[in-house]
């Protein structure tokens, strides 16, 4: 376990940062998010070809890079700074995590890092790594701890899917969708479906950089990927929360960087506004919030990697709750203060700050609001009382 980003991880960070700086500056994001699909296919292609982004978590034997959560956290932090319009959270994060955690051989560490996945899951992972697919995840078997509302899908014995799923990230452009559903045995199972066979409605998202769809399944054929998958789903979602937290840390850091830069250069009353204590203290408070949040994400990612080894203790459920209870709050506060420090400029559509403000809010709401995760944290730490 090493929480310092050095060596290959640092190199990965630099490569991604350079690529995004060249190909996804704020005006490009602002333009792409208002296209009909809200995506930048060229950027996705170059992230795939040049950096192998979709295959980052995919084991080498399925054609991926076989990297783990610490590397994913590095990548997510960079993506969070820029908010590029690419389907990475669905295809490079949610889908591989779900496949790896629900369809893997037993008798390994708690998490699936580095192991192969069985049958259809392996084929889907290979397609992801090859850059051949945009694969969304539809939570049709609702994790009740998030308070419901994400979907309700059942699968028949023949694998035909019925029901609905909403807030499906990148669901509007996906060619394939992994659906968590109640299987014929009443237990959680994972199916793969052709996304075009579902009825899709693109949702008018508050956060245009995070497009999403609602999917209706009316006897849609599904190919079974994993059965008895409740525990695997829970693990995958915990890891996804950590990945989301990394993105939020990157976004919060961007808000701080923009604020400091503006405070240094913008002058009022004949002096830089950064010389005013009211502004200084806002910036200092952002820093003292962002750094611990980053520590939490790195710690959680390292804990996931440690628990992927046989015999490693599993701290991830508690740390994932910590990350989701905290990082979105830090990001939202940073976005709020960054707008304040920028004055009216920060209120304008042309400036990138509203992207962060909206992303921060969507991150607070997605996958369980803050209070739910505080309660989950209490339960996991042994003071949830009635939840115990």
């Amino acid at each position: 376990m090493n929480l310092a980003v050095t060596g290959e991880r640092a190199a990965l960070r630099e490569a991604l940062r350079d690529l995004l700086a060249a190909s996804s500056p704020p005006p490009a994001v602002l333009a792409a998010m208002e296209t009909p699909d809200g995506t930048d296919p060229d950027l996705w292609a170059s992230l795939t070809v040049k950096l192998g982004l979709p295959g980052l978590l995919v084991p080498e034997e399925h054609g991926g890079a076989g990297l783990g959560m610490p590397e994913l956290a590095v990548v997510q932090e960079e993506l969070g700074r820029v908010l590029p319009c690419v389907p990475s959270f669905s295809t490079a994060v949610l889908a591989p995590l779900l496949l790896l955690e629900t369809a893997r051989p037993e008798a390994h560490g708690t998490y699936a890092h580095g192991t192969y996945a069985h049958g259809p899951a392996g084929e889907r992972l290979a397609a992801i790594a090859a850059g051949e697919t945009i694969t969304a995840v539809a939570l049709g078997d609702d994790p009740s701890r998030w308070g419901g509302g994400y979907g309700d899908v059942t699968a028949s014995a023949s694998g035909s899917l019925t029901g609905w799923a909403s807030y499906v990230l990148d669901g509007h452009i996906a060619d394939a969708v992994l659906v968590t559903a109640r299987g014929p045995d009443g237990r959680t199972a994972v199916y793969e479906a052709d996304a075009a066979r579902a009825e899709r409605t693109t949702l008018p998202a508050l956060d245009l950089t995070r497009p999403m769809a609602r999917l209706e399944f009316r006897g849609t054929p599904g190919r079974p990927v994993a059965a008895g998958a409740a525990a695997g789903l829970a693990r995958a979602l915990d890891l996804a929360l950590v990945a989301l937290g990394a993105e939020q840390v990157g976004g919060a850091q961007r808000c701080l960087d923009l604020s400091v830069e503006h405070a240094r250069t913008r002058e009022q009353y004949g002096r830089p506004i950064g010389s005013f204590q009211a502004v200084k203290h806002l910036c200092a408070d952002m820093l003292r919030a962002v750094e611990p949040a980053r520590s939490a994400v790195r710690y959680a990612a390292a804990a996931a990697a440690a628990a992927a080894e046989p015999g490693g203790a599993d701290e991830v459920p508690e740390l994932a709750a910590l990350v989701k209870a905290h990082c979105p709050e830090v990001y939202f506060a940073a976005a709020c203060e960054a707008i304040q420090i920028h004055g009216a400029l920060g209120f304008s559509w042309e400036h990138e700050l509203h992207l962060h403000y909206k992303r921060a809010k969507s991150g607070q709401l997605l996958f369980g609001e803050t209070g739910r995760h505080l309660d989950a944290l209490a339960a996991r730490a042994g003071f949830g009382e009635d939840e115990r």
């Binding site: 310092a4 002096r271 950064g274 010389s275 750094e291 520590s295 209490a378 730490a381 009382e385």
Partner: protein, 383 residues
């Protein structure tokens, strides 16, 4: 020695001396704590085992440990749940100043007296008119032959009643610009011309004092870093903060949190979802300390930059402690209204946190001044 071997040595030593050990307290030793027989015996054992002044060169009785190694030792003691006391400000503030700015003669003369416990120092910086803006201090030092004769009024000196020495910042050149006419002088408190008076604090105890100094003498040899160079010396030691405790401090805050959980459970207060939510928020901050401590240690070991992490540390733990202290009483409801029975103004551990935490938000650079420092030195904002 490798860090693993050092850890093993510490573990073995702690196991062999467990009976004599002082159990770890909360996050901080009470400000008005007076060492008792048990504390003294434990300190002697640590001294014999060479577990004090770990970063000092071996020549002066230390182990010449790096920051990373000190962190490792502190972790072992914290995990074992036993105190590893420091020699107060003598170890944390004066010794770093002597090591960085002292002459070989001063090091040979002064450091062994610190390690043996013969000299116990308090910090004489603040004055009634001078707090945050330290460079305006008024206490005068006049050189007369081989001595510096000091006159002035120092205040808020922690542990003043336990000390026999004070490191004083005084003005030795009144004509120089503010920062340039100051000297850092080690003044004996047991000689003539020093009147030490305890000050009663918010807790009812007497953790700090004030000193009326009227022509008290220190040998010129006790000026560290040379005459009129005191500001630089003072600044190095204000910087010598708690890097060594960056991972182990978590254990104390965690113990306090767990103790509060235990108390609330016995009071039946955990049934209240509002109480549990508030506790979860405090628990988040405790876990963040653990994560950040670990990360800072890893950055230091990798030779990376931990400056930002260390700079934000003091505000973050002290703000947490204020919030935690308030929560600890709120969560107990009316039970928090009453102190333990007994003479004087007795307080329990949580009431102590609620009261004492306010002081740590002010001491060692108020948290507002800390924000200025972070903004200017870490973020590069203009003064």
């Amino acid at each position: 020695m490798s860090t693993a071997a050092l850890r093993a040595e510490a573990r073995a030593w702690i196991a062999a001396h467990r009976d004599a050990a002082v159990p770890a307290r909360g996050a901080h030793v009470p400000h008005d704590h007076t060492p008792d027989e048990h504390d003294r015996r434990w300190l002697d054992a640590l001294r014999d085992g060479r577990w004090l002044c770990l970063s000092w060169p071996e020549r002066y009785g230390g182990r010449a440990l790096s920051e990373t190694e000190v962190i490792a030792v502190n972790e072992e003691f914290a995990r074992a749940g036993v105190e590893r006391p420091r020699l107060g400000m003598s170890e944390t503030l004066v010794a770093p100043a002597i090591l960085a700015h002292g002459t070989p003669e001063q090091k040979d003369r002064l450091l062994p007296r610190i390690l043996s416990g013969r000299d116990v120092y308090c910090q004489g910086f603040s004055e009634p008119e001078t707090g945050s803006d330290l460079a305006r201090l008024r206490t005068r030092g006049v050189v007369e032959g081989g001595t510096v004769r000091i006159t002035g009024h120092k205040i808020w000196t922690s542990y003043g009643r336990l000390a026999n020495m004070m490191f004083v910042l005084c003005r030795t050149d009144p004509d120089a610009p503010r920062h340039q006419g100051l000297s850092y002088v080690l003044l004996p408190l047991d000689g003539d011309g020093v009147d030490v008076r305890p000050i009663r604090q918010i807790t009812g105890g007497h953790g700090f004092c004030e000193e009326f100094i009227d022509g008290a003498c220190a040998p010129l040899d006790n000026v560290i870093g040379g005459l009129n160079n005191g500001w630089r010396v003072a600044m190095t030691t204000l910087g010598a903060e708690r890097a060594g405790e960056i991972t182990s401090q978590y254990f104390g805050y965690r113990r306090e949190f767990d103790a509060l959980l235990g108390r609330l459970r016995s009071q039946g207060r955990l049934a209240d979802p509002g109480v549990r939510r508030a506790l979860a928020e405090a628990y988040v901050r405790v876990l963040l300390m653990r994560c950040t401590g670990r990360r800072a240690a890893d950055e230091l070991r990798a030779g990376g930059d931990a400056a930002a992490l260390l700079a934000i540390d003091k505000i973050n733990w002290s703000e947490h402690h204020c919030d935690f202290g308030a929560l600890a009483l709120d969560a107990q409801g009316p039970a928090g209204l009453v102190r333990p029975e007994g003479d004087g103004y007795r307080i329990d551990a949580f009431q102590r946190v609620m009261l004492e935490s306010r002081g740590r938000r002010i001491a060692r650079g108020t948290n507002q001044v800390q924000r200025n420092i972070i903004a200017e030195r870490v973020l590069g904002l203009p003064r």
